[in-house]
Symmetry: C2
Subunit: 342 residues, 2 copies
């Protein structure tokens, strides 16, 4: 990037502009992985460190600056725990511990912080994740908006198979565990004051019990939760990092009517809106139906579908067969259309 | 804490008011350690996870919000890397990896970010620490002041001996590796526009090469870097967590004249000002002189001294024998006198 570039919101929005920014930053680092593990260069959901012959440490870090702090379906604390726990799971790791660094604006009431931290603690506890360390800083008014959290998740992967964005194989079936964009759409609807007369809310939910056993079974090549930048970003990362084409059937992608409504009202692309409780998986084809059936047994996975497969055509691209018989390229979005979704 | 308490700057300033706040927050968590390791309850420099018979993982997290971003002696990037690397060393761990989550204010120039990240990268590289993962978020103007960094350090401790704040033993000699308060005093001087006609600058420096071999040698019971809240907080944590008395000789504490000057001008207590390149150690008495000599070979340790010892009198307290023959209690300060020192 040019030195005099002014950083815009879209440089942090999970899309193609963020790719340019992040690549420039990561390029500055020299040492980016520990002994051949997954590191910063891979820009995956987390990093890996081989700690013994049979086990790999998974490490994933995120900042959480969602606005508003309490939103339909969740709050900052639930989101911070969920986002980091899910990132560890996306790398095939069993989350065991989390650290939490908090920035608080001077003048914030303790009861608000207590509510957020209680939600964070409950989510960690329900997923057997210990809160082992942290940091708490209070900043003068106007230098942080109420409260932000930064979390690092630690997990252990004992299965020898790699789960990584760059590991999708030709022939893999692509499974989606739910309908896309519910988190982003619910935040946008709330901020714009759109009354949908529906119960649209964020899908934020930990995916440990639904996806960890599947990840550990050895039939998953890649797994990703489409947060910032939405499904469009996540699918394009599979395609470009693994150098495969993804060929998807539009009709098979589950659509939430309320999300669709928000998108039509505001002229937004559903595929650029974030989710916080669903994932896409690249699964060996002969096991795809079995994996799908297992996922559908969970509440977060009741709408799961096989939406297509990885191909040796359209390398690096995502192609959607449309419902009217044509096909279109699903490009990586510029980024999530609104700031502070996560 | 009462629900309607309004959080003030001092609740995050590293002193006694922060203790009350942190204890309330940590009390909310249920799961706070992994299988008996050091966890959130200990409020130490980091946490420990036993990962094999012979090795322990050290994990430490911090947010860095120093203002100004470029200060005499360093910058945000150097401080972020140093602070986290040193915290891993304070637990006796060899730092191997770090993650870095960045918050950037919309409108910031790329060249500024590049300069900070270059400094961060250089410090990590010089200490053989890989930058393995991260997160980058851009927030609207006025919701972050230019740039903050949150880092998590990962280290490995192979030595079986525990190094922890609560592990000081009666008879241990207390070593200080440098004069206190240089980081805090240089920031205060800069902000107040005090021209001291001296070269007062922050002592920020990684302590891996100076302290890790000593930590691994088995003669150190406890080690701590006096950051927020300064030497007064760090010494009181040794005393209260280990339930020993610390009896120190005032004359033996090395004092930087410029720090002293700033404190006299502004009526500040040197013992509440932060350092970012020094540590206190509790060392088995028969090895103290040898450890001291080793430390003094390093530039960061040239002013190191033995300042006193741990006693079974004055349990939980820090007592200073003054230069005029009296003695006084060194209480834990309320907190660092200015915000955003680290």
């Amino acid at each position: 990037m040019k030195p005099d570039t002014i950083i815009e919101l879209n440089h942090g929005a999970g899309g193609s502009l963020m790719d340019i920014f992040l690549s420039s930053l990561i390029n500055i680092y020299k040492n980016k992985s520990v002994e051949g593990g997954i590191g910063a260069d891979e820009q995956d959901d987390g990093a890996t460190i081989q700690i013994s012959k049979d086990s790999i440490l998974i490490v994933s870090s995120d900042s959480h600056t969602v606005e508003p702090i309490f939103f339909p379906g969740g709050d900052l604390g639930l989101l911070a725990a969920t986002g980091t726990i899910n990132d560890v799971v996306m790398m095939g790791g069993k989350p065991i511990a989390i650290t939490c660094a908090i920035l608080i604006e001077e003048g914030t009431r303790y009861s608000l912080i207590e509510k957020v931290i209680s939600s964070f603690a409950r989510t960690c506890d329900q997923n057997n994740v210990a809160v082992i360390a942290g940091d708490t800083k209070v900043l003068p008014r106007g230098q942080v908006d109420c409260m932000y959290m930064s979390t690092t998740g630690i997990g252990i992967r004992t299965s020898p198979n790699v789960i990584a964005d760059n590991n999708v194989k030709v022939g893999d079936k692509i499974i989606i565990t739910g309908s896309p964009g519910m988190h982003g759409a619910s935040l946008i609807a709330g901020r714009e004051g759109i009354n949908l007369e529906t119960d649209l809310k964020s899908d934020v939910a930990p995916l440990v019990s639904m996806l960890l056993p599947i990840a550990e079974s050895g039939v998953v090549h890649a797994m990703k939760d489409p947060t910032r930048g939405g499904l469009g970003s996540a699918l394009n990362e599979f395609a470009s990092k693994s150098n495969v084409g993804l060929i998807l059937e539009e009709d098979s992608i589950p659509v939430n009517p309320a999300v669709n409504g928000v998108c039509e009202l505001l002229g937004l692309d559903m595929f650029s809106l974030s989710s916080e409780g669903m994932a896409i998986l690249a699964v060996v084809p002969e096991k795809a139906e079995e994996v799908l059936a297992t996922i559908q047994l969970h509440l977060s996975g009741k709408d799961a579908r096989i939406i297509g497969e990885a191909s040796d055509k359209y390398l690096g691209k995502v192609v959607i067969h449309t419902s009217i018989g044509g096909h279109r390229l699903l490009r990586k979005p510029l980024g999530e259309p609104i700031p502070r979704v996560c």
